[in-house]
Symmetry: D3
Subunit: 136 residues, 6 copies
Amino acid sequence: MRITVHRKAHFNAAHRLFRKEWDDDRNFEVFGKCSNPHYHGHNYELIVSVTGEPDPKTGFVMDLKILKELIYAEVEEALDHKNLNVEVPEFKDLIPTAENIAVVIWNKLRNKIQDGHDLEVTLYETPRNFVSYKGE
Amino acid sequence: MRITVHRKAHFNAAHRLFRKEWDDDRNFEVFGKCSNPHYHGHNYELIVSVTGEPDPKTGFVMDLKILKELIYAEVEEALDHKNLNVEVPEFKDLIPTAENIAVVIWNKLRNKIQDGHDLEVTLYETPRNFVSYKGE
Amino acid sequence: MRITVHRKAHFNAAHRLFRKEWDDDRNFEVFGKCSNPHYHGHNYELIVSVTGEPDPKTGFVMDLKILKELIYAEVEEALDHKNLNVEVPEFKDLIPTAENIAVVIWNKLRNKIQDGHDLEVTLYETPRNFVSYKGE
Amino acid sequence: MRITVHRKAHFNAAHRLFRKEWDDDRNFEVFGKCSNPHYHGHNYELIVSVTGEPDPKTGFVMDLKILKELIYAEVEEALDHKNLNVEVPEFKDLIPTAENIAVVIWNKLRNKIQDGHDLEVTLYETPRNFVSYKGE
Amino acid sequence: MRITVHRKAHFNAAHRLFRKEWDDDRNFEVFGKCSNPHYHGHNYELIVSVTGEPDPKTGFVMDLKILKELIYAEVEEALDHKNLNVEVPEFKDLIPTAENIAVVIWNKLRNKIQDGHDLEVTLYETPRNFVSYKGE
Amino acid sequence: MRITVHRKAHFNAAHRLFRKEWDDDRNFEVFGKCSNPHYHGHNYELIVSVTGEPDPKTGFVMDLKILKELIYAEVEEALDHKNLNVEVPEFKDLIPTAENIAVVIWNKLRNKIQDGHDLEVTLYETPRNFVSYKGE
């Protein structure tokens, strides 16, 4: 009997999309106003989903208080109120698209989640644009 | 051609999380303020999802009016404005975590849904904490 | 130049609506299933709104971090995961309707908010039922 | 490494549910007030989900600006502010249930999406009734 | 001590915006695709707000169950799943803009609400377009 | 008969809160992590509300298509995907708090709105923090 538990969190960050090897015109052509060199930002909404068997003693797949603290320690401390391009090492050579941010978050959380439990992250960049990744 | 139809419903209930074999300290250690002996409560939001082939005559996988009535009769009548621990027989010996409530709801609905149709339930305990279960 | 700043918070609680002087039948007649003696509960969503002149030095009517902490200390600590009828002194002789909870919250916050600033509270008992009170 | 990107859109349309071969009584029996001959309508909310490998150069599974334009050209231009029964050729002999509208939208988009990418559409007819289809 | 209680409801309807004295070109110029002669439709979300003194016996400004039934009887029965232009007498000579629908709803409810209580209606035509009216 | 029409819009931007005359420590003390010199950002949600008499010919207080275009031209073009501190002249000597951004938006729109119509703007910096301003 496998159940999925989900926890919602959020963080605010600045970013810009650009590829160092390309000049400003090429970046603007590909990334549009998201390549603005002065940055722009988002309220990122994050859903972390963990699938596994509930513990027969507690009825919990995973204590959501612990998941909440884990998201705080691993994700919010690292990304909240940060400039992703400048201050977050994972994006030194990786463009902070929603896709790549989701993969970075998944990697930060994966080895903190119990073996045998599945992990998926869904990241809203805006209420209309979002991505999901489950490590496959 | 398989399509999923989803119906959203809600109910309000009181509960507490505690394990009879454990004393109050142990319960507080595991369940925190959710173990408050005087109960607390939630507006539970429920999404019931049924997957199957649409009927070629009606274009419906399942008439959502019927699904609405089914959720009312099987779930809302049983759980709405109730104290889950005290008044709902399924939780006599089962801790009413979101995970367990989702399984109880799935079991209540499964044999009312057409054979060959898949069933999934998603249950929001709060806007930030939710679970999903599809009987696997 | 008067601006209103709003801060959203939430808490979960159990309650029942009943009037001690009335018997169960009369209570059920007036309050319906909300009078269930075993309690039910809600995820209360709260919006606290403060109106005043922004401070020319900070551009803040009121620092929302401070308002957040104030709501936590005065409202969430007092009401979250509580049984309103049993554990909250203000409801010893006051029925915990949404209207009365809103007035209790307003009274708890009023003297912590700067003189000359106006205060309004909006309280969602469910996504479809809510109340607002501004102390008039 | 497969990631899903999602884009939300909406359109408003009128429709009625009825089967030409059936008389009004039979239609009312099956479709209830949705069979009203004078039509009624909805704000349809649409989520289009595309799954594939991110492009290593851009970090995009699919540029969401392009997906937005594609949804506009293929779905909104065809369905927004339209009477689905009268003005949309696909529903000449197909009842515009949410299920069928989702399949029609999926078919409109499928051959515009890169081969090897998976496509799913989720369509909200109301905030409480919605369907999803992934072409299986 | 005056408190406002709010109740949310919804209904689905078809309409078109056009002025009989104007030809189709003029109507299209003023109302755009909202003047489509085959109609389009919306999920209207309605908030009804009643302001007054709470009853000291019940703690209610107005029993929200009664307000819910009143909205059902006066508004939903009259407008839900209807074609506003064709089937609702109030719009025989009145264009069913969101503004006018809000006024019609306010007028339907006003004399059912206790004297001395204030009434306001807020009507969402789409999640981005809405109107409010308080009879002033 | 005065009615309020509301139109919702959004824009994404980067900002930081700091006062030039203060050193970094003092800025951090007052503005916390919002003073991060590398900026952070938000998805700002904006509601623009215009109150007036509906035009008896059209039933509109103000054509919402025109209001939508006005918000696009005056607000989104100026602020979307911008660094408020660096690229928006109004914030050269004004701290871009939500309060001040709301006032700047109100001033941009006021003289484009018909005389005699009232104007209010509500600005969400996050789903939990928002401000409103009506020019009083």
